[in-house]
Amino acid sequence: MSTKSTDTVDERIGSESLLSRLMKRPELGAIAGVILVTIFFLITADSAMFTLSGVLNFLTPSSQLAILAIGAAMLMIGGEFDLSIGSMVALAGLFFSVAVVNFGMPLFMAIPATLAFAAAVGSINGQIVVRTGLPSFIVTLAFLFILRGLSLVGLKLATGGSTQLRGVREAVEGDFLVPFFSGDAFPGFFAWLASIGWIETFKNGVPKVTGIPVEILWSIALVVLATYVLLRTPVGNWIFASGGDPEAASNSGVPVKKVKISLFMLTAACAALLAIIQVLDAGSTDARRGFQKEFEAIIAAVIGGCLLTGGYGSAIGAFFGSIIFGMVVIGLTYTDFDQDWFQVFLGGMLLLAVIFNNMIRKRVTGER
């Protein structure tokens, strides 16, 4: 944002230091967190963690979480929660698998259908929250169970009693859209990098890293798009306003209800995108897909600077929050620590982030 100074300066207003300007950015905490965690693992972890393959190794789960967390962050900025996104991943995975396996749909039909289905479920969430005025926490908690249950029942119906649906990989074999949603991107480029000796190869000349996992590219595309929408479009302003104070926003002519319902649809569609990527990757789906991911996504969003009360936060923050998450989960396997420290770390990180965010909010709003 521009920082043009006015012609006449109020003598009581001191100039702002760079630090206090930075402090106002919601993503600051998450970026600082990434740096801290990186330093921690540089000291404690095996050096393999920060080779190219090691980095991609932790960025893959990070970016899968980021796809959810960016949607969750947008919704949180808009003043609502969605606890049902984890279950949505399972249900969308089921819908997608059934479309591909049982109905033999090509991906160019199955993918938009899955996204539309998820968005429709999201809009039900949104309609209920907006119309009843109930807290989204409780409405989507109900959907956490409803959708998980539907996924289980649906899976058994689709498979004749099993809780796993296989055969997705065979069903989509040769589909022109597969490379966009699964595997590694830019294999040719990486093969070339290997051939000129810039990246490591196995003994037979095959590069150790064959490309960038597509989910990383998807999450980067999403974070760029979400940030653009939030900071540079009228809709972005409406999202902040709807979360900051729905009544003031609606008095000023912001279509608060539409904004909120659309955000619920977006969050559910993000869950569906993750489901499609995961199902294509695994070649099957099961009822535990996305289990507890809603909490991880919300934690990533909070670490990324989103306030639980809405109206403040950033997609970039949620992205970095997810990276912290992936780094810790995967990073601990490179160290001598017991991996179960992960949960302790997670809780501690969340607590720190909330305290930090609260401090920032007071600073921004001038509360004392």
Binding site: M1, S2, T3, K4, S5, T6, T8, V9, D10, I13, E16, K24, Y228, L231, R232, T233, P234, G236, N237, W238, F240, A241, G244, D245, E247, A248, A249, N251, S252, G253, V254, L307, G311, Y312, R361, V364, T365, G366, E367
Partner: protein
């Protein structure tokens, strides 16, 4: 008056068995500040909410520039040119001044998919409009939460004026403010009135009303107790009308005439 921008005739409003307004008439002309005074529960809020389209009157008519209007929503009245600045609901503290100023009416540039919030122009206009109102912002991205109560009111008023309000309804703009901030807001009200905007100033503070008002209407128990013009009424008379006369007289005696 014939040149009134808004003329409210015999407005009645009932909520079930409760009669909130029992035939209130009120009008405001361009370039005038018409104060609506009343104690808590007199029906001031119901009345302005009817005027700004939040409630539909149970009976009576609203004439806007001579034409009968039927506001279905606050948006309708806003589009007609009636802007309401609510005491506490005007601004979102976590958002920047610019984002608050343009909320719901963001300027855009570009076309189609590339239509985007023209933040530079928005910042520029916001800074200029705020300076006209006598507020120097540190930066347009300063959060509204860092402004004082009076400054927030001023941002809200500046916003309404910029977006072409013909009538500005101010709901108790000074009731939560300190002395200095109150005079700033009153100065802003005077400035806005001199620009030719009709101001409806709701308050229960007689001195604030007398400072900027041209006409004064007192509301008590859902009825108007008459309208007085500037110079024809004293603070004490207004106070008595608002309180409904007798009890206040005895109270005032015991308080030594300081209320």
């Amino acid at each position: 008056m014939s040149d009134a921008i808004v003329h409210m005739e015999n407005i009645e409003k009932r909520f079930g068995p409760v009669i909130a307004l029992a035939g209130v008439s009120f009008d405001v002309s361009a370039g005038e500040c018409h104060c609506l005074l009343g104690d808590n529960g007199a029906g001031k809020s119901t009345f302005i909410k009817t005027m700004s389209g939040v409630y539909k009157p149970s009976a009576g008519s609203i004439l806007f520039e001579g034409k009968e209007m039927n506001f279905d929503s606050p948006r309708d009245s806003m589009e007609a040119g009636i802007a309401t600045v609510y005491q506490d609901l005007a601004m979102i503290p976590l958002m920047s001044v610019t984002r608050n100023f343009w909320m719901g009416r963001e300027p855009t540039k570009g076309k189609g998919l590339f239509k985007r919030f023209d933040i530079d122009r928005a910042n520029e206009i916001t800074m200029a409009e705020m300076q006209k109102m006598g507020i120097n912002l540190r930066a347009p991205d300063q959060a509204v939460g860092t402004l004082s109560g009076g400054e927030r009111q001023t941002v809200a008023i500046a916003r309404a004026v910029y977006f072409g309000a013909k009538v500005l309804i101010l709901d108790e703009p000074t009731s939560a403010l300190g002395v200095r901030q109150t005079s700033n807001v009153l100065a802003t009200v005077a400035r806005v009135r001199n620009q030719g905007i009709g101001v409806v100033f709701i308050t229960h503070n007689v001195r604030h009303a007398l400072a900027v008002g041209d006409r004064f209407t007192v509301l008590n128990r859902g009825k108007t107790l008459g309208t007085a013009t500037k110079g024809n009424i004293t603070a004490e008379e207004l106070q008595d009308l608002m309180a409904g006369g007798q009890e206040m007289a005895t109270l005032e005696g015991s308080l030594g005439g300081t209320v």
